[in-house]
């Protein structure tokens, strides 16, 4: 009964949505943004339009988005109460996995580095590189590496915050000189974007990895307000 009701509602919604898409596709109005992007590419400091949009034209979005990632990581590690990350179930001693790690890990590092570097001229960039790096970390973790740097201590928090902090500093330095917030100084766009991307890659990898590790673990709990301990 409930299934039928939800199905009918969703069908109605789908028809309205498809109709809306059809309507909009039929009568677009306004200018074309890609041409504006193409015109501004020369001043952007990079050659790949998507990277230019992400880290120059709309860098405020990206800054806040890294903020969202950091928030998720903070909320995640605030749930993991035990300082120890020793989870015996994760300690597999699979020789295949070990062999895989030995050959695979350096390769993954290489791929991540390449993706990061390539982002300036062709597809790739901090997010993809960070994700590959995090994937490497997950493999290492599954292989039973203790990865002590992921304990919720100062080192982890520095790692989480580093990329965001560097981005923020670059953003504010130019503003201190009287320019707009997030504007790159004349001629400095390329090195600054690269700098931001390197630190972002590390932080993104760290965030994703810490969220993977921040599994729930113990019984420490705070009583609700007004509940006696």
């Amino acid at each position: 009964m409930r299934l039928a009701a939800v199905l009918v509602l969703c069908a109605v919604f789908a028809m309205a949505l498809v109709g809306t898409v059809w309507q909009i596709a039929g009568q677009p109005v306004g200018g074309t943004l890609p041409e504006t992007v193409a015109d501004a590419m020369a001043d952007s400091g990079v050659d790949h339009p998507v990277t230019a949009v992400l880290l120059n034209f709309r860098s405020y979005d990206t800054l806040l988005e890294i903020g969202v990632l950091v928030i998720a990581a903070i909320a995640g590690i605030s749930m993991a109460r035990l300082p120890s990350l020793e989870d015996p179930e994760l300690r597999t001693h699979d020789s295949l996995l070990h062999a895989l790690q030995r050959w695979f890990l350096p390769l993954m590092w290489l791929v991540a580095g390449y993706l990061l570097w390539a982002g300036a001229v062709q597809p790739g960039g901090a997010f993809q590189a960070g994700a590959v790096l995090a994937g490497t970390g997950v493999l290492m973790r599954l292989g039973g590496m203790p990865m002590n740097f992921l304990q919720p201590r100062l080192l982890l928090r520095v790692g989480l915050a580093l990329g965001f902090a560097v981005f923020l500093l670059v953003a504010v330095v130019s503003a201190a000189g009287g320019d707009a917030f997030l504007a790159y100084p004349e001629g400095m766009a390329k090195p600054l974007i690269l700098l931001i991307e390197i630190f972002l890659t590390l932080s993104i990898a760290m965030v994703l990895l810490s969220l993977f590790v921040a599994a729930p673990v113990n019984d420490a709990r705070e009583p609700a307000e007004g509940e006696s301990e």
Binding site: P28, N56, G67, S78, L168, F181, E225, S228
Partner: protein
């Protein structure tokens, strides 16, 4: 000067979020006081600068819209920035004393708090639809993190419910943004508004706007999509509840209102406007009614939020197809309602936190006898309640008076009934708390006395909400300032 202030306003919360992540709770508290002073200073200075001159667009990174992201720095946005500075500082000060610094997870309170503040400012100033989406997510995730912080099963359940509802809401909004970009080829709200005026009768964009507003209504907890709000606001720590009720739900409403005021005249329909109004009216009645029945103190306050949010949605019918003067009245009424509710509700939640702290119970019936021990917090609670009941001279009265006039002047008299009934019902639930606390009850004589500072903060907020009605005129004149081009 202006550009430094803007940079400071954007930079401070984000920087403090990062720095307070690196230190413990106590150092973070000390740092946050400094940050609050800076942030309040920047907000006040900017507000006066704009009040003296006029609003302007601030192009981030030096890239003008539609290529880059522009911030719309006008009287309305800055008034909300100022309101956020006031309420968030109050909640932060309260939290610094209220929260137990020895719990290991409390250190994460400050970074989340500052990220929340940054997200709120991003939303008030935002003029780019996608940027607003990112701002909304910043707010949602940090708010969920704050609710869940150190929580037990009940808090986790509430925060998960909140998270899932909020995610659906923002996804619906984002889908609307996608459709809008397909229609107009720009993400800037001002650009869309121009195009919508130029090409009337774009049905697809109208539906997209309705979709966005539905998503935002879910995030604002408009009846009947309000189910997630009372558990989340009721179970969070009191300073967090205050932040959530006073500011967070307003953010999504603010976006809906901006969309409606910019695009509504060309893309909206009478049916959509009236529907929003009817749901708002039902929220007022239903929320107030449930607030009268809740056994738990904070649930009463949370349901009262559902009701007070309902008033805001009267904006939609009262600005559609009416004269410019009536529309102005409705907008001013809405703005005052947002401000007075934010102040009053923050005061109420903080005072409720103090009451809970001293009685050791969240139940209304356990308040018996508290009037002898904690008259100050109880008094703050009552003063805030007076604003919610909209008695003169409070901000709540000024807001509802403007809404009342707008509905009479536009010939939509039926909304006045809602305003009256809502006022009576809110009186009922506030008096219910009072009656419970004045019961003489000798069984329970051990009340813990919270520190003075905890009691002073809600009182300040309540007094501000009370005095808002007296300064409403000058405040409204700044918000209605003509908008300067460029800048």
């Amino acid at each position: 000067m202006m550009s430094w202030l803007m940079a400071g306003l954007l930079f401070t919360p984000l920087a403090w979020a990062v720095v307070s992540l690196l230190v413990g709770f106590r150092t973070g508290r000390w740092l946050s006081w400094v940050g609050m002073v800076l942030q309040v200073g920047a907000s006040v200075a900017l507000w006066f600068a704009v009040a003296r001159e006029s609003g302007f667009y601030y192009a981030l990174g030096g890239w003008q819209a539609p290529l880059g992201i522009e911030l719309q720095v006008d009287g309305l946005a800055l008034t909300f920035v100022l309101l956020t500075a006031a309420v968030a500082s109050a909640c932060g000060l309260h939290a610094g004393v209220y929260l137990d610094p020895d719990k290991p997870w409390q250190r994460y309170f400050w970074p989340l708090f500052w990220f929340l503040w940054a997200g709120l400012n991003a939303v008030w100033l935002g003029a780019d639809l996608f940027n607003l989406y990112v701002g909304l997510e910043l707010i949602t995730l940090s708010a969920v993190g704050l609710v869940a912080l150190g929580g037990d099963a009940g808090a986790l359940r509430a925060s998960l419910r909140y998270l899932l509802a909020a995610l659906v809401g923002s996804m619906a909004y984002l889908l609307g943004v996608a459709l809008m970009y397909g229609q107009f080829g720009t993400l800037s709200l001002a650009g869309m508004s121009h195009l919508a005026q130029e090409y009337p009768g774009l049905e697809g964009a109208g539906l997209a706007m309705a979709l966005m507003m539905t998503g935002l209504a879910l995030k604002t907890a408009l009846f009947p999509l309000h189910g997630w709000l009372p558990p989340a606001h009721g179970i969070a720590r009191s300073p967090v509840s205050a932040l959530l009720s006073a500011l967070v739900v307003k953010a999504s409403f603010f976006i809906a209102a901006r969309l409606w005021l910019e695009l509504g005249p060309n893309l909206g329909t009478l049916a959509l406007a009236q529907l929003a109004g009817v749901l708002g009216a039902l929220a007022v009645l239903w929320g107030s009614w449930l607030a009268c029945l809740q056994p738990q103190l904070k649930q009463v306050v949370a349901y009262s939020s559902v009701a007070q949010i309902g008033y805001l949605f009267l904006l939609f019918p009262l600005t559609w197809g009416v004269t410019e003067a009536v529309s102005q009245q409705a907008q001013q009424g809405m703005t005052l309602q947002v401000i007075s509710h934010a102040l009053a509700k923050a005061a109420m939640f903080l005072a409720a936190g103090n009451l809970i702290l001293s009685t050791g119970s969240n139940r209304v019936s356990d308040l018996a006898g508290v009037s002898r021990f904690l008259p100050f917090s109880l008094f703050s609670f009552g003063l805030a309640g007076v604003s919610l009941m909209s008695l003169p001279p409070t901000g709540g009265f000024a807001a509802k008076w403007l809404l009342l006039q707008a509905s009479l002047n536009s010939g939509q008299w039926w909304w006045t009934l809602v305003l009256l009934a809502g006022g009576l019902l809110s009186a009922a639930y506030v008096f219910r708390i009072y009656r419970a606390s004045f019961v003489e009850h000798s069984e329970l004589d051990q009340f813990y006395h919270p520190p003075r500072r905890l009691e002073a903060i809600p009182m300040m907020l309540a007094l501000m909400s009370l005095g808002l009605g007296l300064v409403a005129e000058p405040l409204l004149s700044v918000m209605a300032l003509p908008f300067g081009e460029g800048g």
